[in-house]
């Protein structure tokens, strides 16, 4: 049934490996798929001790994920590797 499918989708977790530029080794994170990219990136930044960024993720295709969308909406899937990046601008 469609409602069950939606419920299942909202409960879906994604397990990803997150890297940061300044460290060699990544860390594993498990998030709900409907978590916003901004929230997941902020959690990862805190875990790595990074402050002052507008954190987002860059995927293997070099796409910088939209912070205002969910991980699933941005195509994140379990097993993905993501790079934590600063989505701040230039001037």
């Amino acid at each position: 049934m469609p409602e069950q499918d939606n419920d299942h989708k909202h409960d879906r977790h994604v397990r990803v490996e997150v890297f940061v530029p300044s460290q060699v080794d990544g860390k594993s994170f498990t998030w709900l798929g409907d978590m916003l990219v901004s929230a997941a990136a902020a959690e990862a930044a805190a875990e790595f001790g990074i402050q002052g960024w507008t954190p987002s993720f860059q995927n293997d295709a070099k796409k910088v994920l939209d912070r205002n969308q969910s991980l699933l909406a941005q195509g994140v899937d379990s097993g993905d590797s993501l790079e934590l990046v600063d989505a701040g601008g230039g001037v």
Binding site: F19, P21, S22, Q23, V24, G52, W53, T54, S56, Q58, K62, K63, V64, L65, D66, R67, S81, E83, V85, D86, A87, G88, G89, G90, V91
Partner: protein
């Protein structure tokens, strides 16, 4: 000026993360600890043309590196050597300034004292504390990452 040995020791500590970042992102990066310089090669994502990025790391981290793109044939830092600016995620401005320069607090050449456009960032020694919504980088690998992110939004080359 920071003693060369101090900068060299800092860069020794960063070398592994720089290499790991380059391997993850398909860049060729060569760190020259003796000359305190870095050279990097990457292809532009839209036309696959070769970009050559150089950094003068003397004085790092008391002052930021001097980053510049150079033409692979002439070695000159001229507009055609630089990626053109494209709006980055969230509609923010690119770090690729048409001067041309990389306009970020972690590029020494962006400051007025070094010929850049930013008189508002006071002194280069304050580079880690520049206020505002600017892309942050506190080490060389983070600087390469920031350049890579903005390159992914660049529609082509300048000039």
């Amino acid at each position: 000026m920071v003693p060369a040995e101090t900068t060299r020791a800092l860069l020794d500590g960063e070398a592994a993360s720089i290499s790991a970042w380059a391997a993850r992102h398909g860049w060729i990066v060569q760190l020259d600890g003796l000359r305190l310089a870095l050279a990097a090669l990457v292809r532009h994502p839209t036309d696959n043309s070769l970009l050559v990025l150089l950094a003068d790391l003397r004085g790092y981290r008391a002052i930021p590196p001097a980053w510049r793109f150079v033409d692979p044939l002439t070695g000159k830092s001229e507009p055609v050597a630089y990626p053109s600016p494209g709006p980055v995620s969230g509609g923010k401005a690119s770090i690729f300034h048409p001067q041309p320069t990389i306009c970020a607090p972690w590029n020494r050449l962006a400051y007025t004292s070094e010929g850049g456009v930013h008189g508002d960032w006071s002194d280069t020694s304050n580079w880690l504390n520049v206020a505002g919504d600017v892309v942050r980088a506190a080490n060389v690998a983070e600087m390469l990452s920031a350049i890579d992110v903005h390159l992914s939004f660049s529609p082509g080359r300048q000039g």
